[in-house]
């Protein structure tokens, strides 16, 4: 009895001890309470353009290096495109225009392109930027020892010359229309810093010197990358002094940082855009929402080498049976567009006459009947020659794609097609299923090209393992048009070719176009000068003109 009491008094001591520990934790917590300086500034009024300030955004992944031809990830090109120039670029309407090049000429036989560089270009370190640098970059990207997967376009050049220090001339064996696009995607590298280096291992990748608006200021591994204004920029001076990209892998954490006003911009998902923002007036006071056309579309692709997808009636039936608007409303909360060609709606390559297949289950059933599929055994699943119409939709781990697959599964079930869904990890997806052609139907995405050439995706010669026509599409007319489109450098004539191509593709229905989602960037209202609504190229096209008026700038140190 006595012992027992002692136990108890003992335990009270312990409780007191541990609650003291808890109290200590709470005290340290509140000790960190820093006074917030956001005493309701109204960010709405515009102010005159001022230079200076810092803009902070978030990156989901860390670039492996800043030489884009070797790094390859999107985060690398996001940062590198603020540091490096290409010869050409796309303007706000996605038309090609000069960047380092003042202008360019195409020879009458369309095989030679001559680029004239702008005069007096300089690298950030003050060295002159000349055609020798362009030549060096071309030699690097085509060198067999360079570990880049992007060399193919540039290897088509049979002769490259530099007649003088401001002229760069390339000659192709035959006219190659995508050439211009390829020169808009090649960041020109400084010869004087790289010529005796191994491009694959050079520390230049983490300490680059470029020629664009910004130069690298500081790279904290795994944490942040800071850029500062390049005084020698070839394209004029940007208004904002510093760009800081913080590496925050988790989207939810990014959103919290945004809410706490620690970052100025991020790209939202549809729930944040369509559900959270409308419900939070405090967020709308501080942030502007933008909607820009995305760079890719999602599709359902058939393996045309497998039965029954070799039958155009089956493909069309499935196309009619899928309600695209339902997927856009359900998966993207309405923040997407139906597409009918593999080009951005509203750009010159997109054929305005084409309309997506309307949702029409009745027509689907008729088409399937014509193809021989009927429910003979009364189990609710259509069949032909005793075989039920059943297949597996294969997709990778991507929430939007998984949800789309579920909606498609339900709609196809309604007309009597039994669909299973299989979700696999990306590397497995590519090597185990796509490369081997071991799939029936895939749910995937392709880019909405600004360059219309899609030879690699649709030409019948591109079906070998590892090539991109893995659905096995073959159409002589399409082959002809794709070949012709590559040889034609005149934009108006090319447009006609690709309008015809997209029309045949839609009619053939080798894939079902599902949707093109919007990109949903949000920007803090302290950043002024952003185009709204976004032009086809997105809001980023004039980021050098953006500015942050002084009263709106964050106190440099409070930005944690």
């Amino acid at each position: 009895m006595f012992n027992c009491k002692q136990y108890q008094s003992q335990s009270f001591k312990h409780i007191a001890y541990s609650s003291l520990a808890g109290l200590l934790i709470i005290m340290t917590l509140s000790a960190c309470d820093q006074k917030q300086s956001t005493d309701h500034i109204d960010y709405n009024p515009t102010a005159p353009i001022e230079k200076g300030g810092t803009m902070i955004d978030a990156l989901s992944g860390e670039p492996s290096g800043l030489i884009a031809m070797i790094a390859g990830e999107s985060s690398a090109s996001a940062i590198a495109s603020n540091i490096f120039n290409s010869l050409l670029k796309y303007d706000k309407n996605l038309e090609l225009t000069g960047e380092l090049a003042q202008n360019w000429e195409i020879s009458p036989d369309q095989r030679t392109i001559t680029f004239h560089l702008k005069p007096n270009l300089k690298w950030a370190d003050g060295e002159p930027l000349t055609s020798n640098d362009v030549m060096f970059t071309w030699q690097t990207v085509t060198n067999d020892n360079t570990r880049t997967p992007y060399g193919a376009d540039y290897k088509l050049v049979i002769k490259a010359e530099t007649p003088d220090k401001n002229t760069f001339r390339v000659t192709y064996a035959q006219p190659y229309a995508p050439a211009l696009d390829s020169w808009s995607g090649l960041h020109i590298l400084p010869k004087h810093l790289l010529q005796n280096q191994d491009i694959n291992t050079s520390s230049f990748a983490r300490n680059p010197v470029g020629s664009h608006y910004y130069k690298l200021d500081q790279w904290k591994s795994g944490e942040s990358i800071s850029l500062s204004r390049n005084e020698n920029a070839t394209q004029g001076q940007a208004n904002i002094d510093r760009l800081v990209s913080r590496i925050i892998p988790d989207r939810a954490a990014q959103f919290l940082e945004l809410m706490a006003d620690n970052i100025d911009s991020m790209s939202l998902n549809s729930i944040q855009y369509a559900r959270i923002f409308p419900a939070r007036p405090d967020l709308n006071e501080k942030f502007s929402l933008y909607k820009e056309l995305g760079n890719s579309y999602t599709y359902l692709g058939f393996n045309l080498k497998h039965k029954p997808f070799d039958d155009i009636r089956v493909r069309k039936a499935i196309n009619y049976a899928i309600d695209k608007q339902e997927i856009i409303d359900g998966v993207l909360l309405g923040l997407g567009l139906p597409v009918a060609s593999p080009y951005k709606p509203g750009t010159r390559w997109s054929n305005p006459k084409l309309k997506p297949y309307a949702y029409n289950p009745q027509k689907a059933i008729e088409l399937l009947k014509a193809a021989g599929f009927e429910d003979h055994d009364g189990d609710g699943i259509l069949d032909k020659d005793g075989k039920p119409l059943a297949f597996e939709i294969l997709t990778n781990q991507n929430k939007e794609r998984e949800m789309s697959a579920v909606l498609i599964q339900r709609r196809l079930k309604e007309i009597g097609i039994d669909v299973k869904i299989r979700v696999v990890e990306w590397a497995t997806f590519i090597s185990r299923f796509i490369k081997t052609g071991d799939f029936n139907v895939v749910l995937l995405g392709w880019g909405l090209g600004v360059e219309p050439d899609q030879y690699n995706i649709w030409h019948s010669s591109q079906q070998a393992p590892g090539q991109f026509n893995f659905i096995g599409y073959q159409n002589k007319k399409v082959d002809y048009l794709l070949e012709k489109g590559r040889l034609e450098l005149n934009p108006d004539k090319r447009m006609k070719i690709y309008h015809d191509f997209a029309e045949i593709l839609l009619e053939d229905s080798p894939i079902v176009y599902l949707y093109a989602g919007y990109g949903l960037p949000t920007m803090h209202k302290r950043i002024k000068g952003i185009d709204n609504p976004a032009p086809p190229a997105g809001i980023g096209h004039n980021s050098y003109e953006w500015y942050i008026p002084k009263p709106y700038r964050r106190n440099e140190m409070s930005a944690n």
């Binding site: 309470d33 795994g222 497995t428 090597s431 944690n560």
Partner: protein, 339 residues
């Protein structure tokens, strides 16, 4: 004793080779390699250039040959270079001919993970020890029940959810703590004391959360160990001879109850270098968990093998240390060894 130690160390070598072989084979069982993950689905890339990359990385050779090449390098303690991260050295920094230093990937990630794990282990012990003792002393009474429920809630609660809630509460609603990252922007201009405080602020939530989720294991171990010991005859003897209860509990019972913990700490040494992918992603901490996870997704073989090798070496070492610590702490074990 010394010969025992040498024998154990010697046997670790074939064990490590075996582990690395199995890891290597399993890694190659997963479909895909770096060429299918890095720009593998961009129509601007070509199969020829991917094949070229495969040859450069020796990925076109049979797995056994690749393993041989790896073993040859590792025998010189050369962990190689990452495929995916611009040829960064996997383990330790290297200097190129111009004197530029490129830091090793593990070298950068390891100290961060180690710091977080050591701090949270200390936190766990500091809380779990008293909790376990209280539980045992008040067995089946209210404090015991309350503590058990509390540690189980901590164990069962989804860490990522709690993390996000706490981030929202302490970071967005109240601005008490930073939300993510390791340093404030521009903190490198501060004096070092402020820098340390700044980093500790950033680490508060990650440590708190990994501490809370790890509380259950240790505190229940202590509780059960204590209960076992408290029912032993020598405790009754100690009480019978009239020792003060404090002495009985702390000097006689607790010290013996702590013995099994040595094993747990030995086993947690390899755990110290492994980070949690989810926590590191949410808190934007560039640690070992994220490094390994990304390497697996990218099929970055040298990094995967580097981390696995170091991890298994540390596991074996941890086991050895635990055995030695046992021998040191428990005369029964020590005698058993020498006889």
């Amino acid at each position: 004793m010394l010969s025992y130690l040498l024998k154990r160390l010697f046997w670790m070598v074939p064990l490590l080779v075996g582990i690395s072989l199995i890891s290597f084979l399993i890694m190659h069982l997963a479909p895909g390699d770096i060429t299918s993950t890095e720009a593998g689905f961009n129509p601007k890339t070509s199969e020829e250039s991917r094949q070229k990359l495969r040859e450069m990385y020796n990925l076109d050779k049979p797995v056994v040959v690749q393993y041989g090449l790896w073993l040859k390098r590792i025998s010189k303690l050369d962990f190689g270079h990452s495929f995916a991260s611009h040829q960064k050295p996997v383990f330790w920094e290297e200097k190129d001919k111009d004197g530029n230093i490129s830091k090793g990937m593990i070298q950068e990630a390891l100290p961060i993970t180690l710091l977080i794990n050591v701090l949270s282990l200390i936190l766990i012990i500091a809380i779990a020890l008293p909790l376990g003792v209280i539980s045992a002393l008040t067995q089946n009474k209210l404090p015991d029940r309350a503590i058990t429920i509390f540690v189980f809630i901590g164990f069962a609660i989804p860490g990522f959810w709690l993390a996000l809630m706490l981030m929202y509460w302490t970071g967005v609603s109240h601005h008490w703590l930073p939300i993510s990252g390791l340093h404030s922007l521009g903190s490198d201009k501060l004096p070092w004391v402020s820098q340390v405080i700044d980093t500790l602020h950033h680490l508060t939530l990650p440590i708190l959360i990994s501490g809370l989720t790890g509380l259950a294991g240790i505190s229940l171990f202590v509780r059960n160990g204590m209960l076992d010991v408290l029912h032993q005859d020598y405790i009754t003897t100690a009480r019978a001879k009239g020792l003060p209860e404090n002495t009985v509990v702390y000097k006689h019972a607790l010290r013996n109850a702590l013995l099994p913990l040595i094993t747990i700490f030995g086993l947690s040494i390899p755990g110290l270098i492994g980070g949690s992918v989810i926590a590191e992603s949410i808190f934007a901490i560039p640690g070992m968990g994220k490094l390994f996870y990304d390497a697996v997704l990218m099929r970055d073989f040298p990094v995967i093998m580097g981390i696995l090798t170091i991890g298994s070496a540390l596991t074996l070492l941890g086991n050895l240390l635990a055995d030695l610590a046992y021998a040191w702490a428990d005369p029964r074990v020590r005698k058993g060894v020498s006889s």
